[in-house]
């Protein structure tokens, strides 16, 4: 009992000293225990954080590459380039030998974004490419203060590049190019294909048996498909519901022309959640020589 008291006293003294003399006076942030997601500016949603964490853990376990996301409130008066390099080295992002680390940094007050690349990834991610990717996948969202969305989208884009280089076999989801057209997911294309096929078959039946109602239905269906394409450019989800409602509407106007079958396949494949073994996450000791690019938004 007496021993415990003594030990406690010592601990308290130590804590007291630590409070009095902060050992760590470094201006940059420390890694959180999640390591891969460090949301110091508190701008990422929980879903985005866990998505990034799960995928980075999976990527690391399979390939030793590390993608780390950091948001900070401000840069403590430093420029984002030296801040990022210092942070990159302090965290030790990437494998010590392969230096396959990547840092996505966002500074809220300065409204700056930087992607810092470890030595080992400079070949597939030259500075120009990191800049272009930020312009295409992140900055448009950041400009509208959609930080969480922009970070997620940029993370996906960079994840794809790093994962394919490192031979990752897990699931890779596509990012949205902000200025270009939205790439249609596979299920939408399947739905569309079956819809087109059904319409063509129906049209053939309509013409061969001279059923005007069937022909008229097919024409309406074609219009629905055309409209679907236009809407899909803006909002995939809306386009899919539009396609279904459109067909039901067409059916309601004209009555069931004949028995038809749809091959449409819906539903997203949801990402499985990964349960870590509870060990703490840390850098592999990788380094960066200041490669990458910065943007203001």
């Amino acid at each position: 009992m007496k021993f415990h008291k003594l030990a406690l006293n010592k601990i308290f003294t130590l804590l007291f000293l630590l409070v009095l003399f902060p050992v760590n006076v470094s201006a940059i942030v420390e890694p959180t225990d999640k390591f891969y997601v460090n949301d110091y500016a508190d701008i990422l949603t929980d879903e985005v954080e866990s998505y990034i964490f799960d995928n980075s853990v999976k990527l690391y376990n399979e390939t030793s590459a590390q993608i780390v996301v950091v948001t900070v409130k401000d840069l403590e008066g430093k420029d984002i380039e030296s801040y990022a390099t210092e942070l990159f080295r302090h965290f030790g992002i990437g494998d010590k030998e392969k230096n396959n680390g990547l840092l996505l940094l966002l500074a809220l007050d300065e409204r700056k974004s930087r992607v810092e690349v470890g030595y080992g990834l400079e070949g597939i991610l030259p500075d120009g490419k990191t800049g272009r990717m930020q312009d295409e996948y992140m900055i448009p969202y950041y400009k509208d203060n959609n930080f969480s969305e922009g970070m997620l989208n940029g993370y996906k884009a960079f994840f794809e590049v790093v994962a394919s280089e490192e031979g990752y076999t897990g699931e890779i989801s596509k990012a949205n190019k902000a200025d270009g057209e939205i790439e249609l997911p596979e299920y939408v294309l399947t739905l569309l294909g079956s819809k087109l096929l059904a319409t063509v078959v129906l049209l053939a039946i309509g013409f061969s048996s001279k059923k005007t109602r069937v022909i008229a239905f097919c024409i309406l269906e074609s219009i629905t498909i055309a409209l679907f394409f236009i809407v899909a450019k803006y909002d995939v989800g809306a386009a899919v519901s539009f396609a279904f409602i459109g067909t039901i509407f067409n059916l309601a106007i004209l009555g069931d022309p004949s028995s038809r079958s749809y091959g449409g396949r819906g539903g997203y494949s949801s990402g499985h959640s990964y349960h870590s073994s509870g060990s703490s996450f840390h850098g592999g000791g990788g380094s960066s020589g200041g490669g990458g690019s910065s943007r203001s938004f």
């Binding site: 390099t85 500075d127 120009g128 490419k129 272009r132 960066s288 020589g289 490669g291």
Partner: protein
């Protein structure tokens, strides 16, 4: 007889210890010195890389910015100086000059919105600022290495060994003052 042997043994042990101590110090100095050289070659690589990007830049803007010969010429001249620079001091000052010329050039580019929006140009500028940033990082690494080495050889008794084997103080890579100061540009 026996006492003499012990005496010789003790003396030999002391000599071996002292020699080992000197060897250790000497080896540390050698490796610290080597580290500086390797960091220096990093700077060199990135300076070269930056110099290599300049002709691309000049070619891509030549047609569009035909009225801005002065700004372009300054960049080209600074590049030539950098390529021809021999020693550390020359390289450092040529590098600063190039940074200054490029910053001035960027101010002029502000008047060409089409050029600024051009993807090839943006990529080129990213590569350029990337190499600038790498130079800054490797310069810092180099100076840290020099600092570590200089501090080491000045300490007693290291200074005696350093004098004996002619380990001289190494030079820092200094960016000329104001070179990194970005000219005021309004991004309205």
């Amino acid at each position: 007889m026996k006492k003499g042997l012990i005496g010789i043994g003790v003396f030999a042990a002391i000599v071996i210890l002292v020699v080992a101590f000197f060897f250790g110090k000497y080896n540390t100095m050698v490796s610290l010195n080597e580290k500086i050289d390797s960091k220096y070659s990093d700077i060199d690589t990135y300076l070269q890389r930056r110099a290599d990007l300049i002709p691309n830049l000049v070619n891509s803007v030549k047609g569009i910015m035909s009225h801005e010969q002065e700004a372009i010429n300054k960049v080209t001249e600074a590049r030539t100086k950098l390529v021809n620079a021999k020693d550390l001091t020359e390289k450092a000052s040529a590098d600063s000059e190039l940074t200054k010329a490029l910053n001035n050039f960027l101010v002029v580019v502000e008047n060409y919105p089409d050029l600024k929006a051009n993807t090839n140009f943006i990529t080129l500028m990213d590569e350029l600022s990337g190499s600038e940033n790498r130079i800054a990082t490797s310069r810092k690494d180099y100076n840290d290495a020099v600092n570590e080495y200089n501090a080491y050889i000045k300490k007693i008794p290291n200074s005696i060994i350093a004098n004996m084997f002619n380990f001289k103080e190494r030079e820092y890579f200094k960016a000329t003052e104001n070179a990194n100061e970005v000219p005021q540009v309004s991004f309205e």
